[in-house]
């Protein structure tokens, strides 16, 4: 398990290779990369700044990964989230899950993204033509996270 919060860019290929190289028990690698878009809610976005809660962030991400590992049989997980100022097209977040079978890798990867969006202490501020604005939480993210709550 590797969890990083960093300002630097990450390398998807290198992270996947680090998880899988030299192993012959992995059948499935599911990965997700989230990128900063140049347009959001109808406004051009020139840049965004990601703030976080140092100390809690790593702890919250580790908990989400542990939850995923208790739900599905996973072989390894990497989560990297960037902070600081990012430009449109820049990568923001990476989640890679490796497992024997694809169903588990897909489910855990999507679960981690949905959980991260609602439970990890990151906040986005966008720079637009109309000035700066904090991104508001989305009801669609709450709905996505709620899908995983077991009855």
């Amino acid at each position: 398990m590797k969890i990083l919060v960093q300002s630097e860019a990450f390398d998807l290929g290198a992270e996947v290779a680090a998880l899988s190289q030299g192993r012959t028990d992995i059948g499935a690698i599911a990965s997700f990369v989230g990128l900063a878009r140049g347009m959001n809610d109808g406004s051009g976005v020139q840049a965004m700044t990601l703030e976080h809660y140092p100390g809690m962030t790593e702890k919250a991400l580790a908990r989400l990964v542990e939850e995923a590992r208790s739900r599905w049989t996973l072989l390894d997980v990497t989560v990297i989230h960037r902070v600081g100022r990012l430009l449109p097209g820049d990568s923001i977040v990476l989640v890679v899950v490796v497992s024997r079978h694809r169903g588990e890798a897909f489910a855990a990867c999507e679960y981690l993204m949905d959980a991260l969006k609602t439970r990890a202490p990151f906040w986005k501020k966008e720079e637009t033509q109309e000035g700066e604005r904090w991104v508001e939480a989305r009801a669609s993210d709450d709905a996505a996270a709620a899908r995983w709550i077991e009855p």
């Binding site: 989230g34 809690m56 919250a60 202490p121 989305r138």
Partner: protein
């Protein structure tokens, strides 16, 4: 008792404070929110009932009825928007 209180993102900007140490005579997160609301102005406005904010005690998000122990690190912040 003493609490170390942190504010993030929009709330940090609105309050003009990133962190402070304060005396607390209540017991729960709701008591702390009431104490801060009593400052009036942006505090009363942003922490009013029905406003969306989150409280973490010692780096775990908690409900407002959660107990706040002495020397706790309490953080108050808007709903998260990372990823």
């Amino acid at each position: 008792m003493k609490l170390h209180v942190l504010y993030f993102a929009r709330l940090r900007e609105r309050f003009g404070v990133a962190e402070e140490t304060l005396d607390f005579t209540g017991a729960t997160a709701a008591d702390l929110i009431s104490q801060l609301q009593a400052r009036g102005g942006v505090w009363a406005e942003e922490l009013a009932a029905g406003r969306a904010f989150r409280v973490a005690v010692n780096q775990d998000i908690v409900a407002l009825d959660a107990a706040v122990p002495d020397q706790a690190e309490v953080a108050i912040f808007p709903p998260v928007t990372g990823g």
